[in-house]
């Protein structure tokens, strides 16, 4: 317990929840800072103060386009990853509705383990008449490609055009990386555009949109050491969508409103740093990830490693612990200064455990008993060792008081 205190007292909390959000990098903040008090112009203003902002915006757009290997006109800066996803999906939907005088006609296909930003947007679009299909994943969380192809084919044959396929790049809970290139080949065979939610992939995976084969890609700042409340949509120029937020002609008429220059500069800088560190950090974190996985499997009995062993983000570890519930593990770790997340319903606003864990086939009990550790720039072997020590003792204690854990052994008097 002295160790815990030390960590808390030095305010060096042991953050293992980088997939929830990241701190802003100091270098990112430094580059964005002048755009608050000093260079505060509005890019639409026709004077030198505005021009500084306009050039800064243009420059940020070019820097991002270079990383994504696309045209700068194909970048739309948004106010979050969620807004970018909404723009992509509703942008397609509204275009279809306008063509059909209000009614949505056609199918959207997505996966079962998508982020709520995708699933709830599509659920909402269902109300306007669209047909929504959620493709299954296997026990590793990989999308069923055959089912995808069949569903596209069947819909097209039945005269229901498939308007868009949206499959995430990497999953936020179990870190599973989807085979985007193969998915895109299937989509393009049938002339269907592909959108991908790349929020969790941006820090560690390649972002060349041509190589990925995506027609739209969502990224955000809050997962890559940028600013919260920033995001972007890459949209291939051949894909035509409606705007989600109308007003001035900002962002190529796709997102009106005074541009968040500081946030956009932060986004460009964060992506550049990610790009530069990608290779090295992937190697470093993969090693730490494999170390942690091995050690947990060895030192704690009856655990389930959730997700794919290989097609996985380098910074994601997700385990279910038999016989105990995730929130209670999370809060005991929290007392030890360690910040993690859980798929348990108890730590969320809902009553059901993680839809991702259920989709890969976990029973409710194990889904409630999951803990996600996600690493980042300040994660070290020492911190992982400390985490495992605290994890072990928490698990041991909680199992002692768990009727589930002691079920087999339990007996009643008489």
């Amino acid at each position: 317990m002295t160790k815990t205190k030390n960590i808390q007292n030095t305010a060096k909390e042991l953050y293992m929840d980088y997939s929830a959000t990241t701190p802003t990098r100091q270098a990112v903040l430094d580059e964005a800072l002048p755009f608050f008090v000093e260079k505060y112009g509005n890019p639409s203003s026709f004077h030198s103060t505005g021009l500084v902002a306009k050039r800064t915006l243009q420059d940020a757009r070019e820097r991002v386009a270079k990383i994504l290997n696309c045209d700068e006109k194909e970048i739309v800066f948004t106010g979050s990853g969620t807004e970018s996803i909404n723009l992509a999906l509703k942008g397609i939907a509204f275009k279809n509705m306008i063509k059909n005088k209000g009614l949505g006609k056609g199918t959207f296909i997505t996966g079962k383990i998508e982020h709520p930003a995708v699933l709830e947007t599509l659920e909402w679009l269902e109300k306007f008449g669209f047909n929504i299909i959620e493709i299954d994943v296997d026990m590793n969380g990989i999308i069923n490609l055959k089912q995808l192809q069949n569903d596209i084919k069947k819909n097209q044959e039945e005269g229901l055009p498939v308007l868009l396929v949206s499959i995430m790049y990497a999953n936020n809970e179990i870190g599973t990386i989807q085979p985007l290139k193969e998915i895109s080949e299937i989509c393009h065979k049938y002339g269907v555009p592909l959108h991908s939610d790349g929020c969790q992939g941006a820090e560690y995976l390649p972002l060349d949109v041509t190589k990925l084969g995506v027609d739209m890609l969502t990224l955000n700042g809050s997962k890559i050491y940028g600013f919260k409340g920033t995001g972007l949509l890459y949209k291939n120029k051949n894909v035509i969508i409606e705007s989600l937020i109308h007003g001035g002609g900002h962002e190529n008429n796709l997102r009106a409103g005074t541009e968040n220059i500081a946030g956009i500069v932060a986004m460009a800088k964060a992506l550049e740093i990610a790009e530069k560190e990608k290779k090295k950090e992937t190697i470093r974190l993969k090693k730490l990830r494999n170390y942690m996985v091995k050690k947990i499997k060895k030192e704690i009995p009856k655990v389930i490693y959730n997700g794919s062993a290989t097609k996985r983000l380098p910074n994601n570890v997700n385990f279910s612990f038999e016989g105990i519930e995730g929130e209670s593990i999370l809060l005991r770790l929290n007392e030890a200064g360690i910040r993690v997340s859980t798929g348990s319903a108890c730590a969320s606003q809902s009553l059901d455990p993680s839809h991702v864990l259920l989709a890969i086939g976990l029973p409710h009990g194990l889904a409630h008993g999951s803990i996600r550790f996600t690493f980042g720039k300040d994660t070290t072997k020492q911190k992982i060792d400390y985490t495992i020590r605290e994890l072990k003792s928490s698990i041991k204690f909680l199992r002692t008081i768990s009727p589930e854990w002691n079920k087999q052994k339990s007996w009643r008097k008489r």
Binding site: Q8, A11, E13, G323, I324, E325, E327, S328, L331, R332, E335, S344, A345, C346, A347, Q349, L351, P353, P363, H364, G365, H368, T400, I401, S402, P403, E404, W405, N406, K409, S410, W411, R412, K413, R414
Partner: protein
């Protein structure tokens, strides 16, 4: 505004009972001392609770429990176990979820119905005792 880094989600009382629960069953062999047993909840909801009572002369002499669930479930069982020790069966049967919550100085609304199973488990255990001793 208080935004301390290690502020807790639950009250101080919940935290204390969760971090240092009282009267839980440490070892299987303790069970044979007890004469009333109840179990409530299910895994789908994510909360299960077992309770063992030692009842003598209509009084709860001792109590043990086990709980699967979130911090508030564990804390509310622990708090309940302290409350009922020494209580008459008569009074114990009148214990409600809100009595337990009062003892914990409150719980988030969303936690109430799923995690405060203590009163139900208690009634189960008393019923079990009575059906075996009457």
């Amino acid at each position: 505004m208080k935004v301390e880094g290690n502020d807790w989600f639950y009250t101080k009382e919940v935290k204390e009972h969760f971090m240092n629960p009282k009267n839980f069953l440490k070892e299987e062999k303790e069970i044979k001392e007890f004469n009333g047993y109840g179990k409530v909840g299910n895994m789908k909801c994510g909360d299960v609770m077992e309770i063992w009572l030692l009842i003598e002369k209509n009084k709860i002499k001792d109590v043990r429990w086990r709980t699967f669930g979130c911090a508030s479930a564990i804390a509310s069982t622990s708090a309940m176990s302290e409350m009922v020790k020494g209580m008459s069966i008569h009074n114990a049967l009148k214990l409600t979820a809100s009595d337990i919550m009062d003892k914990l100085k409150g719980l988030p609304a969303i936690k109430v119905h799923c995690s405060v199973l203590g009163d139900e488990a208690l009634r189960e255990a008393i019923k079990d005792y009575e059906s075996n001793n009457n």
